[in-house]
């Protein structure tokens, strides 16, 4: 199964390799969707993890015990295809490049596997075709 997590780093653990822990200890396949370290030494990582359910839950616990703030991303962006007319205004707003033009048809497509449901696209859509489902 696949789960998405937001992991907050503090100044003290920002150097730790979370991906290594996830792979070596829990045999999970991480896909880092976004990673950012800010000027004050803290950082965030949005990661999609694929693996066995019990290992996913154990990994979440392991990271929490190691001092990371871990929260599962339960939200998702919904795209109403009847309302969208593929103008593309949302495309450059998406921080994870999850909204793209299909290179053949130029229709706007949403890749829910990489979307982190940040909601930035919602008010860029003049058709109200994008909404945040919590």
């Amino acid at each position: 199964m696949e789960m998405k997590f937001k992991i907050d780093f503090t100044e003290s653990n920002v150097q730790d390799s979370v991906a290594y822990i996830l792979v070596s200890e829990f045999d999970l396949k991480p896909n880092v969707l976004k990673a950012e370290i800010s000027g004050d030494g803290t950082g965030i990582m949005i990661v999609s993890l694929t693996g066995e359910q019990d290992k996913l839950l154990k990994a979440e616990q392991r990271l929490k015990e190691a001092g990371f703030v871990v929260s599962e991303l339960g939200r998702r962006i919904m795209k109403n295809e009847d309302l969208c007319f593929s103008c593309g205004a949302c495309v450059s707003i998406c921080p994870t490049n999850s909204i793209k033009h299909d290179p053949e048809t130029w229709e706007v497509i949403l890749d829910t596997s990489t979307c982190i449901a940040c909601g930035a696209c919602v008010n860029s859509c003049s058709r109200h075709a994008l909404s945040l489902d919590i």
Partner: protein, 383 residues
């Protein structure tokens, strides 16, 4: 090589017309050259499907019993003009309800009418000897009313600026959501598919040109508002907003898929309307211009966080803009279109089908449009 409108129409009527979209014809001209392509092709179809605020609809409701001279009119709560004859009105695309943040406006009324929905009509009049009634509260549909025709004072902008934002905060503009510190840029032209970039000096487009408008047949009626000609050209096409068209079309023929009300965050209401213009290939020069490609069409990027003067910061081709990212002084800026390229392509293909199926012939303009026009500024005077 030269052809006449009549020869082309004769070929359409006999089912022999050769029609290409402005995208398809690029390859043909590349392979066969302008001369041979001009001989072979009768019509090139273009398309565009973007926001244009200067849109609206004339409506005649029919007379009620007893009759009313409507002076104040609301359609689904949106204000329509009450300064025409008793039951005539014009509803502008950007007109709002009493709640300006409601996200619903004239453009949505137009879309809902075309979609066949019931629209709440509430109107008030002064009450006169011949129009005794003072108010009416009812529901209408497009089928119920006598006349409903779109009349857009400005459409089909010939190119437009690329918008970015150098400030520290997100700004919300008619060019969409512009992220701080130039994290994105937006543009609004169908480029190589756009009508006025394929016939840049309006050799074939003028008053009376029959077009695809919102899924039905329409006509070019006049130069659009803010029409101008004095813009720098590269490869024979302007690099900024230039010529425009005023358009008319019967809403009863239209389809809601090509007429979309827009609620642009922080800006207001606008209307996206699908327009397709056929270009008759009368000679080689017209053919050559129709073969223009996105890498030959340029637009200047300007800073929308500046309220008054917006000098050009850089110039990009539509091939660059459509690639999803552009480079500005060593940094990457992501790009978005405000105009639907897939929609523009669908329109050009549909218009092509109409012509191939003998359902649509071409009109020679009854009046050509001006060659030398500059825009005036609004002066503020005391008296």
């Amino acid at each position: 090589m030269s052809k006449t409108y009549e020869q082309i129409n004769e070929r359409i009527r006999s089912g022999k017309a050769v029609v290409y979209t402005a995208e398809e014809v690029i390859d043909l001209v590349r392979k066969k050259g302008v001369e041979k392509a001009a001989e072979e092709v009768d019509v090139v179809t273009t398309g565009t499907f973007g926001a244009m605020c200067s849109s609206g609809a004339f409506v005649n409701f029919g007379h009620s019993t007893p009759p009313i001279r409507m002076a104040e009119i609301r359609l689904n709560g949106v204000e329509a003009y009450g300064g025409l004859a008793a039951v005539d009105t014009y509803i502008g695309a950007t007109s709002l309800t009493e709640d300006p943040k409601g996200g619903y406006g004239g453009a949505h009324v137009i879309e809902d009418l075309i979609a066949g929905k019931r629209i709440h009509l509430h109107a008030w009049g002064p009450g006169t000897d011949c129009y005794v009634r003072k108010d009416i509260d009812t529901y209408i549909t497009l089928d119920d009313i006598n006349d409903a025709y779109l009349y857009n004072p400005r459409n089909c902008y010939q190119n437009y600026a690329v918008a970015t934002n150098t400030s520290d905060k997100t700004i919300y503009t008619y060019m969409g959501k512009l992220l701080p510190k130039m994290k994105n840029a937006t543009f609004s032209s169908a480029g190589q598919l756009s009508p006025l970039l394929n016939d840049p000096h309006l050799a074939t487009i003028g008053m009376g040109t029959k077009i695809f408008l919102g899924g039905g047949e329409g006509y070019v009626t006049w130069p659009g508002t803010q029409y101008k000609t004095n813009v720098e050209e590269v490869n024979g096409v302007p690099v900024a907003g230039c010529r425009t068209l005023a358009l008319i079309g019967d809403m009863k023929q239209m389809r809601a898929e090509y007429v979309r009300g827009l609620d642009i965050t922080g800006y207001g209401i606008s209307l996206a309307i699908g327009v397709g213009v056929p270009i008759p290939i009368l000679n080689e020069e017209i053919m050559e211009r129709c073969a223009i490609t996105d890498d030959q069409i340029f637009a200047d990027m300007v800073d929308y966080s500046q309220n008054t003067d917006r000098p050009a910061m850089a110039r990009y081709s539509y091939a660059q803009l459509r690639s999803g990212k552009i480079d500005y002084q060593g940094r990457t800026i992501r790009t978005s279109s405000m105009s639907s390229y897939s929609g523009a392509r669908r329109i050009a293909n549909e218009l092509k089908d109409w012509i191939e199926n003998k359902e649509f012939e071409l009109n020679k303009p009854v009046m050509t449009f001006p060659k030398d026009v500059k825009l005036k500024k609004l002066e503020e005077r005391r008296c």
